[in-house]
Each structure stands twice: as C-alpha cells, then as structure tokens.
C-alpha cells in the first residue's frame, strides 16, 4: 500500500453480514466501550425481515463532534460473510478500507483496499467461532486506542453470570484481537485521529426503544397490552424487563383490537396505559381509538412507522403514517401528535404524553419510526423529575356525572370504586351521566364539549425549534427522526441565509407556523414519505404552500451527504 490511511474527526464503520451472525453483539460491544473511552458514537441498523441469512448492516460513526445521523460514506467495512460487500456496494468509495477474512469478500471486491484478518481461525484457537464477535470488536477498538482493561471489564459485565471460562475466553479473544490490530496498524499505517472527551465517558448511550420505554415509566405507565409487530415490539419487551420493579402489567393480546380495548379499559379503571404498534396493527386499533374519542378516555399510542401499504417493508423506515394518525377514527374528536427527533425528545415527549392525555382525556400519539427506534447515540442525561407527574383522577361523590358540562369542556374524570359515585361511559352519544341519548340538543352540547377542549390543547402546543439565523431567506422544515440529519447537513453547508424549523409536535400545529413561513423567501420540507404529508397539513392549517419537498421513501433514512446535496440544489 503506497500511502497511509488517515481517519480524522469522523469515522464510519459498517458491519455487514447475515442475520444471526452477531452483528448486533459487535455493535453493542463497540459503541459502549467507545463511549466509555470518551468518543461520541452513533449507530443505526438496517436489516431484512428474517431470522437467519440475508444481509443486514449496522453503521457506526465515531466522531469528534456529537452527531446522530447516518452517513452514506463507509471508511471501514467489516464483511461477516459472502454477499456483504455486494450488499453495501453503493456506499463504497475509493477510500473505503475492507477489513475481514479474505474468503468473505475476495470474489466481490472490485479493487478496494483490503486487509485480510483470519478472524475465525483465531476464534477457533481461542475456543470456538462464537468468539469472532469479540475479536472483530477488539480489532476496531484497538484502532481507537481503547484501553484493553476497559474492554475486558466491559466483557466481564456483559457476560456476567456466564461460566468463568466463557468470560476468560472472551478476554483472551479481546487480547488476540488487540495483538492482531497492532500488526495491521504497523503494516498499513492506519492513523485514527478522533477527539475524545472525559465528559463523554460518563454519558449514557441508548436507542429509541429504550428511551421510549423509560419515558413511559417516567410518565407513570403501568399497563401495556400489545400484539408483536416490528418495529414496535421492543417497547413491550423493555417494559416487561422493568415490570416487576415498577409494577407494570404487560399483556400480549390476541390481536391489536383486543390490545387497544384493554388499554382503554385500563384507563377507565385508573391505570395509565400505553398502546404500542405499527401501521397494520394500528389499523386494527382505529375502531377503539374512536371509542376513546367518544368516551373521552385518555390513551397514549406509540405508532412506530414502517413503510406500507399493508405489510410493506416490515423492518424498514418511513414517515408515511402522519395522516393516518391524524385522521384515524370515525367521527370528530381532539387529539395530539408528538414527533420526537432524538433520544431525549423521545423520553420527555413520551413522559409528557401521559400527562397530556390524562389532563384533556384525549388520545396522544407518539410517532416514531424504525430508524429512530433502533439508532443509538450518547446523551448527557435523562431526568425523570424534569416533568412533574400529574394526576387527574377525581374522587366521586353521590351525584357524580362523568360528562358534566363545564366551561372548558373538561369533565372531572372519576374511576369505578373510588368515591360514592357511579362512572358510566358509553360509546353511544350520551347525556351528562353517561347514559345513551338521542336528544339532539344533548348531542350538540356533547360534540361542542369534546371539541372545546382543543382550545386549551392549542395553548399547550410545543413550539417548533428554530435552528440557525432567525433572519433566514430559506427555511427548511422537518419533524421527527429527520431532526439530526437536517441539522448536520445544514451545518455542513454553513450558509447564513438558511434556518431549520424542527417540529416535535405536528398536531395541533403550532400557531407560530404561518409567521415563520411568511418570513421565508423559500420554504423546503424534508420528509421520509412519497406525498409530503406534513406540507399538506401545513397548507391545510395555514393556507400556505411549501415551495419544495425533499422526499425519500425507499425504506431507508436520509444520509447526511445525500440530504446536503439536495438542500444545496434548492437553497436560495
């Protein structure tokens, strides 16, 4: 090799192989120990809808600055088997370095630099092929000068409870990996220069799934009923892990119809319940969503988006269900939709969703997607005390009326068995007591009462966040998981005339929207869908059209470089 390899400030490592080969294990070993060594890390996954085989990849970014968006570029590719190189070929550049076992990439390599490392041979020497993951991790960690002691300690923790010989073999594998890495460094002159900070060593690294589950716990969630569906299942799994500690009922229902009716029944009896699903499952929940609208039941719905219609691309990402969430349910009733953009927003918005749902007795959506749920990045803190727990259950008296007409439309919510009153709710139109009615005046009053709550909800809408020059010429708009990719692309462009408006709540739409749009000479929206649904929602609410939509709907999130190029074409 004629020149050395310099990896400066931002390194993109991609692990690619079949499902079941342990890519996720390597991802976890690497990101945790890199973080513990003071590096900013970000990882995201793309994988096929199968348990074994196929080709999946995990991308890890190690960077001097905090980043949390995927890049297309691959600096180092670690193929775990045949087909891996072909799978990511579009992302390869002349600078990409392939590190791995020659037999797994030789036939597919079209002239990329490569270093042959006999990983499985060494793994077998250590004790079996299973140790390949630790060796592969060690190869990379050594490049980043991660202390072997730290890695060994992490392995001890990760495999705690296993036989001591297994732990020792992993540590042996780590040492072998380090030695091997040193050989590579010598022979190939690979220089890594990414800044570390002692502050980062003490940060927290987590993915969207865990942040959402912990946010739900912070919000007082004590009941979840669900039916497994990618990419939402991890929420229930995570809550189940914590269920004994916090007293959470976790029930796998026979279908999403049952799940949602259980969730509403649970709220009725005094729980704080969560429904978590993806598009197809939510389709089955829609009937009961309308029930929540009619009986004014609070309900928190986590809708984890994936590409549809129908089964679509089960393990991929999209923002295609904004309208579905917005217009779901027959009839007219208020709701709120949160669209968190990173780990912190997922945590705090989920916590907040339980208070908001309870306060106004409405459905509150948390709209995520596969990409944000399964991406990790390091954060400084999550504080469950930042948002105060709010309780709105009323002790009833003898004359209690569940739907008492009030000035602001909110009737104090009692629950059965708490107080001397009776709590009657009905999916039919009902009178103040909750009994069936067909009285047209009562009907009108009840519709008005339910919709009146929107006035108050409107006053509590979370402001969009403006990033960049407030005297912008071009305004970029995005929501949800595109938050960080837009931020980074704009920072790279570095134009003073551009600002970015991020919405973490898309409905009700914040009242400042029209003014923000008015100030711009050009507006651009970035969405992971084919029809620019948020632009249409903005048009519907403000009468103003967005000038340009940058859309992606192939099942993958935007890459920084890709978005940067598209924005450059369109910025004034």
């Amino acid at each position: 090799m004629d020149k050395g390899i310099n990896l400066i400030d931002d390194v993109s490592i991609v692990l690619c192989g079949e499902a079941g080969q342990g890519i996720q294990t390597v991802e976890h070993l690497m990101i945790q120990t890199l973080k513990l060594s003071g590096y900013n890390v970000f990882s995201s996954q793309e994988y096929m809808s199968r348990i074994r085989g196929g080709n999946n990849s995990t991308s890890i970014r190690i960077s001097s600055k905090k980043v949390s968006a995927p890049v297309n570029r691959i600096d180092i590719l670690i193929p775990f088997g045949k087909g891996a190189l072909t799978h990511v070929r579009k992302r390869l550049s002349p600078d990409t370095l392939i590190i791995g076992e020659e037999k797994s990439f030789k036939d597919e390599n079209q002239g990329h630099r490569s270093i042959n490392v006999p990983i499985s041979e060494i793994a077998v020497k250590v004790g079996g092929a299973i140790y390949s993951n630790t060796i592969a991790s060690a190869l990379m960690l050594r490049l980043f000068d991660v202390d072997i002691e730290l890695f060994s300690n992490y392995l001890r923790k990760r495999f705690a409870g296993k036989d001591e010989s297994i732990i020792q073999k992993n540590i042996d594998a780590a040492e072998q990996g380090y030695a091997l890495s040193d050989e590579l460094l010598k022979g190939n002159d690979i220089r890594v220069n990414v800044q570390r900070s002692s502050q980062i060593t003490n940060e927290i690294i987590m993915d969207g799934v865990e942040a959402l589950a912990l946010g739900a716990i912070a919000g007082g969630c004590d009941f979840i009923s669900f039916y497994p569906m990618s990419p939402s299942t991890g929420i229930a799994t995570t809550l189940a892990q914590y269920s004994k500690q916090f007293g959470i009922i976790v029930e796998q229902a026979e279908d999403e119809i049952s799940a949602m009716n259980m969730v509403i029944g649970a709220w009725y009896a005094g729980a704080r319940a969560l429904a978590s699903t993806s598009g197809g499952g939510f389709a089955l929940m829609v009937e009961a969503l309308s029930l929540a609208g009619m009986i004014e039941s609070p309900v928190v719905i986590h809708l984890a988006q994936r590409p549809a219609p129908a089964t679509g691309l089960p393990t991929r990402t999209e923002q295609g269900d904004l309208f579905f969430a917005l217009f779901s349910g027959h009839g007219e009733f208020p709701r709120a939709i949160f669209t968190p953009g990173d780990i912190e927003e997922i945590f705090y918005l989920t916590q907040n969703a339980f208070n908001l749902a309870d306060k106004y007795q409405i459905p509150v959506f948390i709209l995520t997607d596969q990409y944000i749920l399964e991406s990790h990045h390091n954060i400084s803190s999550l504080d469950p005390y930042r948002i105060k727990p709010e309780r709105y259950i009323t002790k009833t008296d003898k004359d209690y009326k569940r739907y008492k007409l009030t000035e602001n439309g909110i009737s104090p919510r009692g629950i059965p068995g708490y107080g001397d009153g009776l709590v009657i709710v009905d999916s039919d139109e009902h009178d103040e007591e909750g009994h069936i009615t067909e009285d047209m005046d009562v009907r009108t009053n009840m519709v008005n009462k339910r919709l009146k709550k929107l006035d108050l909800i409107n006053q509590e809408v979370l402001s969009p966040e403006l990033i960049g020059n407030p005297d912008y010429k071009t305004l970029i708009i995005a929501y949800g998981s595109n938050y960080n990719v837009v931020k980074e692309a704009l920072a790279n462009i570095g134009s003073d005339d551009v600002a970015f408006l991020h919405y973490k709540q898309v409905y009700p739409l914040h009242s400042s929207t029209a003014d923000y749009l008015k100030k711009a000479k050009k507006t651009i929206i970035v969405e992971n869908n084919a029809t620019s649904q948020f632009a249409k929602l903005i048009k519907m609410q403000t009468g103003k059209s967005i000038d340009k939509s940058i859309l992606k709907y192939n099942g993958m999130p935007f890459f920084v470089e890709e978005l940067e190029a598209k924005l450059k074409e369109n910025i004034m």
Binding site: L36, Y154, K157, N202, E203, I204, M206, L214, I217, A218, G220, D222, F223, S225, Y242, S243, K244, Q245, F246, G247, I248, I249, E251, A253, E254, D255, I257, S258, N261, M262, I264, G265, A266, Y268, A269, G270, A271, E287, A288, L291, S381, D383, P384, Y385, P389, I393, I415, P416, G417, Y418, G421, L422, V423, I424, V425, D426, S427, D428, G434, I436
Partner: protein, 287 residues
C-alpha cells in the same frame, strides 16, 4: 340488600314488550342484591346490541364499549382493580360473532370476571338477521333459505378450552337464572353464563314454548367437574341442559400478575418510584 338499590328512575327501556331481556335483567338485579354487591363496587362492561343496553337499566359503574369488545375491556378493568366485581354482559352476536376471538382468548386468560350472554339466536337491533347461534331452519330477510353455517356452540367451545366455569340458564325462569348467576359471580375465574332467551319479534322458532320443551335442569347427581360428561351435555342439541355444566378451578389472570405479588392495592393508588428510575438511568453511565 334490596334490589331497589339497583333501581333507576325514569327509565325508557328500548326492548320490545315480552322480550327475554326483562327476565335476565330481574335475575341479575336479584343476584347482585343477594350477594350484597354495592353498585359503586360493580363494573358492568357491555358491547352493542339490545342485550348490551341492559346495564343502562340498573345502577352500576358501566363501560358500554364497542360491539364485540366487552371482554378485553372487562379483563383490563379487573386486572387494574381486582377489588371490583366485573361482569361482561352482552348478546350472542356481540360475544360469539364480532367478539369471537376475544371469547376464545379470554377463556384461555381466565380473568376473574363473569360473562353473561343473552342468547336469543338472532340479531335484534339490526332487525332480524342470523346470529352465530341461529338454527339452520331460521329464515331471515338475508338468510332467505335458512342459515347454512353450523350454529356456534359456546358451551362446547368453552369446555374444549377448559374454561373455568360454564353454565346455561333460561330467561323464562328468573329464580333459577338468578341462582346460576350467583354461582358464576362467586366463582373465582372466568365464568360463562349463556342465557337462552326468546326474541318475540324476530325469532319465531326458538320461542318461549320451544325453550320450555327443549330444556331440562341438571340434577344433583351431576358432577360438573367431569369434563367429558360436561362436553357430552354441551353437544347434546336434542335436549339442552340448564345449570352449571362445568367447573374447573384454576389460578386467575390477576393472581398471576406480578403487580399483586406484594400488594393488593389497585394500580390507581400506587405512585411511580421516580427515584428508582433515576437510579436505573444513572447506572447506564458506567460499565
């Protein structure tokens, strides 16, 4: 307790004169009074249909939800507050048709709830179409040549799923129906009471007289713990057994929930331990 505790004023009942629902209504009120269940401690859950309106006609907490969906809601209510008496009351179309999947899985789950099903073998509220339990001979404006599908046998299905408690009653006999409902409420676990009921408007086959002639009560010699015998009774469609066909004591859904392993407090009385959550989050900083 007096049944007056459950009486409501100014009732405008939506049922036809002579409807079997009236008998079931009386039997339920009497059973509740006899068991001294305070209306405030009772949560009735119903679906949609003429039967599902029943809990609007007596004093109780009521969750009148969606067609077919009473059982999931009832299961959750009982799970969240096990101190409540929870009864799901609805018709045959609601429970066995629209809610068929929930019927199966609620039996498997075994929450400590009572499920009273008004079974008149026809759809009343939508004006006379076949229900899952309609006999082949029933001709309707839709099933003009009679009903092709095999009538659903709720008792046989429940016993095949090893349900905790399976009974059948007849709305024409309020005393006996009340007795059966009392046993069902007292039973710990899911208790099905399928109540035969004439529909005087839409079902001219399964009339009051038909039920009288086709049914008989199980006597004291019958052992409801014998599953095979119970199944034999359940599939006998020549003459229909009334009474408790099957009892299978087993742990309930709520008993298995770990939230109640250290405390019986209903969930709404508990406070979230944010300190513990904070500690969990903080523990993620180090190795």
């Amino acid at each position: 307790m007096d049944t007056k505790s459950f009486d409501m004023e100014n009732l405008d009942i939506a049922w036809c004169p002579g409807c079997g629902n009236y008998g079931i209504l009386s039997a339920i009120k009497r059973a509740l009074a006899e068991l001294n269940i305070e209306p405030t401690q009772l949560a009735m859950v119903s679906g949609i249909g003429q039967a599902a309106k029943a809990p609007h006609y007596y004093r109780c907490n009521l969750f009148n939800g969606l067609h077919g969906r009473s059982l999931p809601a009832a299961t959750a209510i009982k799970a969240v507050n096990p101190s409540l008496t929870v009864i799901a009351e609805s018709g045959d179309g609601c429970t066995y048709g629209e809610g068929g999947n929930h019927f199966i899985h609620t039996i498997r789950r075994n929450p400590d709830i009572t499920n009273i099903v008004h079974n008149n073998m026809v759809y009343g509220l939508t004006k006379g179409q076949a229900s899952p339990t309609s006999p082949h001979e029933l001709r309707t404006p839709v099933q003009i040549d009679g009903v092709f599908s095999e009538p659903f046998n709720p008792l046989a299905v429940a016993i095949s799923l090893d349900a905790s408690f399976v009974a059948r009653a007849f709305a024409g006999d309020i005393d006996q129906t009340k007795e059966i409902i009392i046993k069902a409420i007292q039973h710990k676990g899911y208790a099905l009471v399928d109540v035969f009921q004439p529909c005087v408007t839409y079902n001219k086959i399964n009339t009051f007289r038909w039920f009288k002639e086709k049914t008989y009560y199980l006597d004291e010699s019958y052992d409801p713990h014998d599953r095979v015998e119970a199944f034999k009774k359940a599939i006998d469609t020549e003459s229909y057994a009334l009474g408790v066909l099957y009892i299978n004591p087993k742990p309930t859904f709520e008993e298995k929930l770990t939230v109640y392993s250290h405390s019986n407090e209903p969930l709404f009385k508990r406070e979230r331990d944010l300190n513990m959550l904070s500690n969990i989050i903080e523990s993620k900083r180090g190795i």
